[in-house]
Chain length 256, copies 2
């Protein structure tokens, strides 16, 4: 059965795209068949995986609008075993275009049915809001991973994304699970970060991944080379952390 | 004449709220009468200025929807001379609620007419997207300041916000100016940051503020105390940088 994982958090800049790009690369390195779906009009996950041409392409927009091409949107990346459905700018208009249509929140779920057989993991990079596109992602997903920057504003927003997931679970997608919260850009010398991390572990315990992603300049450099940090510098602390996270995900999601 | 400044960038986590909270505090310290309008459903600017109760209040939602209370939304903050119109969660639904209504992009402009006489500066904290709420902000503004994190994904998105501002200028608000781009969370030891900064200054020259905001742990700590960094630790590098930025804004915006 295909695992469909939404990477979601309405707080901006917390590492959603970085986690999508690097976790999927690590899963592919573990011989899983993986598909990334870039749902953010900014198209950062597409860039991070080397897709530079974002105009006049089949994109995740086609999955959300159910156009005639929606089954042909997946393209190969430079990472063996990792495909992507890129983003295009017109995703920004989806909320208004679908306003009023019944079933508008289940469009992505239906479209992904056509892809599920070909992949072990489908990972959805969400935009920094809880609008219709993120709602589509949560309804299409079997689980959600929430990247959390260890800072005050990000902590303040955590209860909002968690209550949205619970709301989706009781109203639209009973099978969604909270896959876990992953601490990102973590600097252990920073008191605030240590405090936030202790706070989150105290309240959410096992829901927080053991793996912590450190702040690491190699991670921030990698997108400028159009490649994941695991390919850009596989010996870096950042690459190693995402490989650890992938191992932890495999243990949690495939316990056999 | 009142300066209305939008703090906008669709890229998440680049320092929009931090710039709003601290620039306005510094302007108030320079004896200007200042109003912050928090247009982000996350409500971070409200928190950063000590407003904790965000349910059942008059908020920026009322300005966008033109409810009967919209003229009574401003409340005092702990900073002398600085008021705020806080955010509430229902702002997230504005795009759908106003879909199809003519003039939906000028709602904020009309509402702010009722506030303009009382303030020298009105500063609008925008959400991380280029949707209807940010469009309202750009149409209501006399100028826009774009915080830019010196990183690759943020640089990739810069052309998008700049072309949106140009689009608004030629179609809806001919008087909007690009007030400037301000580099945030800058670490001069980081090659990538130095490269991005040189790149931006080469292409945009005088449009980039001379003042650069350094990455500074005091800035990230201040919101957990519900206060701007200038009050939390006025000797910190972060506080000093925002005071410098305010001085530069005053020189640029009030050249007499
Ligand atoms: N562990 C890390 N160490 C250093 N830099 C990082 C790390 N994780 C992410 N970054 C950088 O921080 C910035 C924000 O990360 P990213 O874009 O992945 O967040 P996001 O949540 O997807 O943002 P948005 O809300 O705009 O979609 C990027 O410039 C990225 O390169
Ligand atoms: N100069 C700085 N030094 C250190 N930390 C900073 C600095 N500026 C902002 N931060 C921190 O970085 C994070 C992102 O900043 P902020 O929330 O202001 O960005 P934003 O663009 O408003 O985000 P969003 O897109 O979610 O609205 C916050 O946790 C903030 O405290
Ligand atoms: Mg992203
Ligand atoms: Mg903000």
């Amino acid at each position: 059965k295909t695992h469909i994982i939404a990477i979601a958090n309405q707080k901006g800049g917390v590492g959603k795209t970085t986690t999508t790009v690097n976790l999927t690369t690590a899963l592919a390195a573990c011989k899983k068949r993986v598909l990334v779906v870039d749902l953010d009009a900014q198209g950062n996950a597409s860039t991070g995986l080397g897709v530079t041409d974002k105009t006049d392409i089949i994109s995740s927009y086609d999955l959300l609008l159910h156009t005639e091409d929606f089954k042909n949107a997946a393209v190969k990346t430079q990472v063996p075993g990792l495909d992507i459905i890129p983003a295009s700018m017109d995703i920004a208009g989806v909320e208004v275009e679908l306003a009023g249509q019944t079933g508008r929140e289940r469009k992505l779920k239906t479209s992904l049915n056509s892809y599920a057989n070909n992949y072990d993991y489908i990972v959805l990079d969400c935009p920094p809001n809880l609008g219709l596109v993120t709602l589509n992602a949560l309804i299409a997903s079997t689980s959600v991973i929430v990247p959390l920057q260890a800072e005050f504003y990000a902590l303040e927003g955590l209860s909002q994304i968690l209550s949205t997931v619970n709301h989706v679970k009781s109203n639209s997608n009973p099978s969604i699970k909270l896959g876990g919260i992953v601490l990102t850009m973590f600097d252990k010398r920073n008191n605030l970060a240590v405090q936030v991390s202790e706070d989150v572990r105290k309240h959410l315990g096992a829901k927080v991944f053991d793996t912590v992603i450190p702040r690491n300049v190699r991670i921030a450099e990698a997108p400028s080379f159009g490649s994941p940090v695991i390919l850009h510098d596989h010996n870096s602390a950042g690459a190693k952390a995402y490989i650890e996270l992938a191992k932890e995900v495999l243990v949690k999601f495939e316990p056999s």
